[in-house]
Symmetry: C2
Subunit: 433 residues, 2 copies
């Protein structure tokens, strides 16, 4: 079996509008598949990835060699490099998505119009999703699977250093689909998963203006990438800016529980968005709590930066500057502030936080409820670590990202975030009086 | 009772950031009211409007006189002018909103995390909504009531010609709230309904950048207004661009039903967004259908513009140009095209339509289902008039607008569109392993 020829991997002669309009046409075909057929195709894609472990590894080897020669950082190289087991997890991830319940066509609400016709609100795909991501090649498989499962076409634009790897993964996913002629003629589902064959900036900027054919852009990467995409895009963007997450230890907290939660939230995986960046402590427990938590955090190598009152209790803490309160360290650094009460903690979080994930530790139900109600964040916790904010942990099956926006989708986003709805009205001649 | 002083109605010395930050603080207070209290406050607002009929009429009389002197169009003057019964309907509208079911706090979904904590997705207010509208003063009361009911604060920016009227309506709504001291100190709920005390362009442009304190902008007016808002705003915008609505008469349509639907969709109220602008007719029924429908439409004074095949059947139709297929006439003008089949109709609608409301008339279930599935519009009808697309008709109780976007809210938008959700997790010490 041979795959159809594709545009060359150069920055010239790539027809960006054609990529978008072919995705639009493919999206219609994906949305018409019945749920079982869509799952089967996803299992074919998973099998395609498993078949192609050697090919993908070879492509990845080339990418890694080039990246190394170009002198990229060790961290980037680590994110880029695959091995057989990482590729098998990718395939398993696609299988997981295939097995998720199908959400398309579900009736969200119904209203019986007095003229005798039901008005149904029904879940439908968004259409075409553009994913712009950096070096992790597993996004290629994850994002393609989630978009396909939810009836959408996807246009993938990965990082330049992962170009060969991403292409090998995409080709592997499509390999068992290419002969599928069920849709007649040369039309297949291949265009539903497209990879932009260039990392030219002008090409991506052009894509970001194709608002007639692309319905949503999801940038996955650092804040700089997301701001640049939001700035250039005329298409709606699902944004994840920052995770400046807080744990607030209330007066009535179980202090041992508070210590365990704070250490977990900061140290279990400090480089991710749901890790704690600022610890807030009620003034009436600061004397007892801070020395204990500081000792545990120091054992994990955490650098502490505190306000004045914190410094008075744990003298080796560095003085925190104003910038520390809004810093997303993504590292073993923690800002600490002593607050007068729960209200001051809430105010601090709403002012300096990023509306991501924030926790209170308390045995006081009133304080807990006030915190849950008034902290304006996507995810709010009582007596648990912020580290749970994740599509898998939230039962979404898989995650296309975490939204710090309030509109459309908030917090961890799974299949539902890739859908919209339409109103369907079945009449028998009704007209408006 | 006297109302507190307000900034003067001049373009200088108006502190726009302060308007936004006071709205943010007020939004927190509105969201904390219990549902019953929120409804009571709305009934107070309705009563305040009823109390103030004379004051509102006097303010409106001044606005109308100035507008007339400024030589505004008769249509604008008609939209601007109130009478006692229009004001009473405004009050009744606020009562209706007060009586709607409260949606805040409802659990949208729950996931039982294996670590023994429920993860609940709960409906919450968006926060602060900015409404930018043109001359109809009833929007002041409608929008304020819907935003308040859904736990939000609202910043209203109406048209300059309606400034006195809008202020009188807003003051009337707040009149019974001003003495309410339940929230302690000088803090009341007044800031939850603010009117921008200027129609200066720079002020609105500044508001559109207050993305820390304003969560959503809803422009209500012509396409020019909406495009200008979308262009300047760094806040998400709920957009209603156009209503280029279609009725497609299929081969298997009941032609008499089709005629009644087409006449209703075009003529019952031609100036609104859910009126039909283009009629598509299957070629196998065009000979029989077009003369009959043309006669009925002509009786209503409709100007017909057809493609070549339409012209061959109804010779007095003017020839349609390419622009006619995407025209939103909002007038007694209709574009007509003969199509080969249902698929061509769907293709035409997806290409030229505005994703608003489109209908098929057919007795063929397969064609109906294909149309419902494949037409990418907010509202799709089988055998009914497009004129039903409306919040009231859809059982939403009231309408803040109709969205032609796909994200967040689509089609007629009621209270739900003014909400978002947050994840609430109640643990007892859970940390991530």
């Amino acid at each position: 079996m041979t795959l159809p020829p594709e545009p060359p991997m150069t920055d010239t002669a790539i027809d960006i509008p054609q990529i978008a309009s072919r995705a639009r046409a493919a999206a219609r075909r994906v949305s018409r598949l019945d749920p079982q057929r869509r799952s089967e195709r996803l299992r074919d894609m998973a099998a395609g990835v498993s078949d192609a472990v050697e090919t993908i590894l070879a492509a990845n080897e080339q990418d890694c060699r080039d990246a190394q020669q170009a002198g990229v950082s060790a961290a980037l190289l680590d994110r880029l490099r695959l091995d057989a087991s990482r590729i098998e997890s990718m395939a398993a991830g696609v299988e997981t998505v295939a097995a998720l319940p199908d959400r398309l066509g579900e009736t969200i609400s119904t209203y019986e119009h007095p003229a005798g016709m039901p008005i149904r609100r029904v879940r439908v795909p968004l259409g075409v999703i553009l994913i712009i991501y950096e070096s992790r090649p597993n996004v290629t498989a994850d994002a393609a699977a989630l978009c396909f499962k939810s009836g959408n076409a996807v246009i993938l634009r990965g990082g330049s250093e992962a170009m060969r790897t991403n292409r090998a993964i995409r080709d592997a996913m499509l390999s068992r689909l290419a002969d599928d002629d069920e849709n007649g003629g040369g039309e297949t589902l291949r265009d539903a998963i497209q990879l932009v064959p260039t990392t030219d900036r002008a090409a991506v900027e052009q894509l970001l203006t194709m608002d007639q054919d692309i319905d949503l852009v999801i940038p996955r990467g650092g804040e700089g990438l997301i701001r640049a995409v939001a700035k250039h895009s005329t298409i709606p963007v699902l944004k994840h800016y920052q995770g400046v997450c807080h744990v607030y230890v209330d007066r009535d907290a179980d202090l041992d529980m508070a210590r365990r939660i704070a250490v977990n939230a900061k140290c279990q995986r400090p480089g991710v968005c749901n890790a704690m960046e600022t610890l807030l402590v009620h003034e009436q427990v600061a004397d007892r709590f801070l020395p204990a938590v500081a000792e545990s955090l120091r054992e994990h190598g955490v650098e502490l930066r505190g306000d004045e009152r914190t410094g008075a209790i744990i003298p080796d803490a560095l003085p925190a500057e104003e910038d520390d309160w809004s810093a997303e360290y993504l590292d073993l650094i923690l800002a600490i502030r002593v607050v007068a009460d729960c209200d001051e903690a809430i105010e601090h979080i709403n002012r300096y936080g990023s509306r991501h994930s924030d926790a209170i530790v308390t045995a006081d139900r009133d304080a807990a409820d006030r915190f849950l109600q008034q902290v304006d964040s996507a995810t709010v916790y009582v007596n648990a670590s912020t580290r749970f904010t994740d599509g898998g942990e939230f039962g979404l099956g898989a995650e296309i990202g975490i939204s710090t926006d309030k509109l459309h989708a908030r917090g961890p986003c799974g299949i539902e975030a890739l859908t919209t709805y339409k109103y369907i009205i079945d009449g028998d001649g009704q007209v408006r009086e």
